[in-house]
């Protein structure tokens, strides 16, 4: 059965999600990928504030293709999350609610998820056209010079994701494979 979640996401809501749950996400989320994470890290190193309040908010690892006229966004599927692993534990400790991406995470990220009661969702990689239809609006809020890698504030409705790593550290990528290995 599908669960429905409204972003931002509280610790209590995150705790109810289990690896393998299919979730339809609505509300406000933020995009950031490689270059934006590097800038956020530099800001934190200098003691500066992040471009948005990270507490309870969801970061979507995504850099869209350009929007055609009359559309909020172009193709908008997830990118590989492990490239953000270096920056993620600190963001989790600052209260990040959840992440949406695709692919494996490092042990340091998994430990950070457990420590902070967060959750890692996967969206279907390579379904960027379909996922773009679930994005109602998109606004660049920081690092505009980075182009596709700028930080965007998105309003999403029934955005389909699967819980891959839950707040207890259960990892669907590991358990699901065992089920179908022959």
């Amino acid at each position: 059965m599908n669960k429905r979640i409204k972003a931002p996401i509280s610790r209590e809501e995150a705790a109810l999600l289990k690896a393998g749950d299919y979730v339809l996400l609505s509300g406000t989320i933020y995009t950031a990928r490689d270059a934006a994470h590097k800038r956020m890290q530099e800001a934190l190193d200098k003691g500066e504030a992040l471009p948005f309040d990270i507490r309870s908010n969801i970061i979507y690892y995504m850099g869209p293709s350009p929007a055609r006229e009359g559309r909020p966004i172009g193709s908008a599927g997830p990118t590989t999350a492990s490239r953000m692993d270096k920056y993620t534990p600190q963001l989790l400790d600052l209260g990040m609610g959840a992440m949406i991406g695709k692919g494996k995470r490092s042990q340091a990220v998994i430990d950070g998820i457990i420590r902070n009661g967060s959750v890692y969702f996967a969206a279907v990689g390579g379904a960027g056209a379909l996922l773009s239809k679930r994005i109602l609006s998109s606004e660049v809020i920081a690092y505009e010079d980075l182009g596709t890698e700028a930080i965007r504030k998105l309003e999403v409705e029934d955005f389909p994701v699967v819980v891959v790593i839950d707040s207890e550290g259960n990892n669907l990528y590991e358990t699901a494979i065992l089920e179908y290995q022959r």
């Binding site: 299919y22 599927g77 996967a122 960027g128 389909p160 494979i177």
Partner: protein, 280 residues
């Protein structure tokens, strides 16, 4: 000599970049259809269904199939009786990429320098492979390559004694390590033999082969089938979320090699295995 103008090449490349990013080849569509029946996992089936729906939306609403519209890889087979006129061929190809990525609302994903990483903002330069062949035609293959799967690709410099089992292990290792990162179901391109760079180039080129065609070499054909079966027993499945369809196909190319070596390259492509082909 037959003459072909650079402006014609630019126009073709531009159209091909847009076409490849919105429409998969018919053989790719067919393999999607048949894999939904083969997939045993309910979630896997659901994901394959989403991916098929994604292809329909991409074509109908003109939204790129994937937001990673790739680095443009261009295979040029140029007939030796062709005279290319009106300017530099490389400039013409890059101009085609520039126009296609702008007019097609495709993402610009190329940085000028691998360390300094400033986006070139027009997705140039392309990676161009030239081949001079007999005849008076130009055969163009444009294959935009996304980097989720490119990053999971590998080159193994095996020993001759490793033999075909060594090749098998190399391919399975690369696919296992790639797992969910490479956006399965994948197409696996393999190059065996040649030199370090030749096997990598063959692996890339193998991805452009029609999935309904088989290798003309009997043992290679067998190896392709066996590897596909073994990969689909790994359990990775669609999206890496578990299942029995981890790869759509294994395409292998081979080439003579040195008495001391057995190079193997594995170029992994996600389910958005894009390529547009035209002959001028």
């Amino acid at each position: 000599m037959r003459s072909i103008s650079v402006s014609e090449i630019t126009k073709q490349i531009s159209e091909m970049c847009i076409e490849a990013n919105h429409f998969l080849s018919p053989d790719m569509k067919k393999v999607f259809d048949s894999s939904i029946e083969k997939e045993c996992s309910p979630l896997g089936k659901q994901i394959l269904g989403q991916l098929e729906e994604n292809l329909v939306i991409a074509g109908t609403d003109r939204i790129p199939i994937c937001q990673d519209t790739g680095m443009a890889v261009v295979f040029m087979k140029i007939g030796q009786e062709v005279s290319i006129e009106g300017g530099s061929l490389a400039d013409a190809i890059n101009q085609g990429v520039r126009e296609g990525y702008a007019n097609g609302y495709l993402r610009k994903s190329v940085v000028r320098d691998p360390i300094e990483r400033e986006n070139t903002r027009d997705n140039t330069p392309a990676v161009i492979h030239y081949d001079i062949v007999p005849g008076d035609r130009i055969d163009i293959m444009v294959a935009p390559k996304g980097f989720g799967s490119e990053n999971m690709s590998r080159v193994f410099m095996l020993k001759p004694a490793d033999g075909i089992d060594g090749v098998r292990n190399a391919v399975l290792t690369a696919v296992k390590d790639a797992g969910p990162n490479a956006c399965p179901p994948m197409v696996v391109g393999v190059g065996i033999g040649g030199t370090f760079e030749k096997c990598a180039l063959m692996a890339k080129h193998a991805l452009t082969r029609n999935l309904e065609e088989e290798s003309p070499i009997p043992y290679v054909r067998e190896l392709e089938k066996e590897l596909l079966k073994e990969i689909n027993c790994l359990g990775i499945g669609p999206g890496g979320l578990g299942g029995t369809v981890t790869a759509f196909a294994v395409n292998i190319e081979t080439y003579p090699t040195h008495i001391a070596g057995l190079p193997v390259a594995v170029n992994i492509c996600c389910h958005v295995n894009r390529h547009a082909h035209r002959v001028l």
